[in-house]
């Protein structure tokens, strides 16, 4: 059995490799959407908050599967929630794209609702108008639940590593540490994508900005379609 330090390094490097090879395709649209939506604002702090939230979720999931001693049992319980998160992510990206392109009158739609869903529309409106940067932290926490093959594989390994520890407590800590390392490894690739999407020339050219909005709408719809196909109706 590999030493704990070696395992952490392995998970960190796996996250790094997978980040450039896989995460860019899956989570790239999300970080691009956030980056473009931030317009003239600094993207670094919001991206840091988003990744902090995402890595926190991975860490907690690592602890749960290690404590449970079973990846499949935990995954089965999470399935419905993950479908919802994937649909939410897709809808969010679509709405962001529509708002960015000026095709969605944010103020009119998400203002002064007296319906029971007022807090939802208020939250969406706040996010789409980027009133608060701190919102990227809960977004990261939530979107860390997005279904992802490499995350599943890392959780599987965390469950196994946890079971090999001499106590549930140490196993839980090991699972959390490994998933935290994996999550940190995935961050550089996504930071780079967000940075590239946030370059001045992209934001300053209206037509390119609009093209970015269109791509976001398409990416968001693909998320929703995949959620339905992946989990069924």
């Amino acid at each position: 059995m590999l030493s704990t330090e070696t395992l952490y390094l392995l998970y960190l490097s796996t996250g790094f490799t997978v980040g450039f090879g896989h995460c860019i395709g899956m989570c790239g649209p999300i970080v691009v959407a956030f980056s473009l939506n931030l317009k003239e604002k600094n993207i670094l702090f919001p991206q840091l908050l988003y990744h902090l939230g995402r890595i926190t979720t991975y860490t907690l999931l690592g602890g749960v599967v290690a404590a449970a001693g079973s990846f499949t049992m935990v995954a089965a319980h999470l399935e419905r929630l993950q479908k919802g998160v994937m649909v939410f992510a897709g809808a969010l990206i679509v709405l962001m794209g529509l708002a960015m392109a000026g095709w969605l009158p944010i103020g009119r739609i998400f203002r002064n609702h007296s319906s029971p869903g007022r807090w939802i529309s208020k939250g969406f409106g706040r996010l789409l108008k980027v009133k608060s940067t701190i919102v990227y932290l809960p977004l990261g926490l939530l979107l860390g639940l997005l279904p992802c093959g490499p995350v599943y594989t890392a959780l599987l390994g965390s469950a196994r590593a946890g079971m090999e520890m001499h106590s549930v407590y140490h196993g839980t800590l090991a699972g959390m540490g490994l998933m935290g390392a994996f999550g940190m490894g995935t961050a550089p690739a996504l930071f780079l994508v967000a940075r590239l999407a946030g370059v001045g020339w992209l934001k300053s050219r209206a037509i390119i900005y609009k093209a970015g909005a269109v791509l976001m709408i398409v990416a968001g719809l693909i998320f929703i379609v995949r959620a339905v196909r992946f989990y069924g109706m």
Partner: protein
């Protein structure tokens, strides 16, 4: 009117693009690499003059469930051959390390437990690489059920 036209173009393009993945997966090039149908039974490959058989249960083989992997050898193996192991992955996509450790379950049979995870891309073609250290490896490429 201009906005309506722009939005119509966007949504028609989006509808087309979301339908494309279905066409692409239908002609998935990785399907052509499949050399094994584990849903129907064990599969056998040649490994440096020996025959190596892989069986996975329960059948049909589904993702996201605990699976039992059994590897059986027939023919010559080095006398001090180390324990074989199985690496699970998807052809053409990095999923991270997923190794099934095998233990001896008899003379020439080894078994271990593992999980094939689900990929949100919808691709269902997986590869199990059975490795006998210092001897060789054999690839089994198959479809799983999601």
């Amino acid at each position: 009117m201009k906005h309506l036209l722009s939005m119509s173009v966007v949504f028609l393009s989006a509808a087309f693009l979301t339908a494309v993945p279905g066409y692409i997966s239908a002609g998935d090039k990785y399907q052509e690499m499949i050399n094994c149908n584990l849903h129907q039974g064990a599969c056998t490959q040649n490994l440096s003059g020996s025959m190596i058989t892989l069986a996975v249960t329960p059948r049909p083989v589904r993702a996201m469930q605990d699976l039992l992997f059994q590897v059986t050898f027939s023919g010559k193996l080095p006398p001090n051959a180390k324990l074989p192991y199985i690496d699970l992955g998807m052809p053409g996509m990095k999923m991270g390390p997923n190794r099934v450790k095998l233990k001896s379950a008899g003379n020439v049979t080894y078994e271990g437990r593992g999980v094939i995870v689900k990929c949100p891309s919808g691709r269902r073609t997986w590869r199990a690489t059975v490795t006998v250290p210092d001897f060789g490896e054999a690839d089994f490429i198959f479809d799983v059920i999601y």
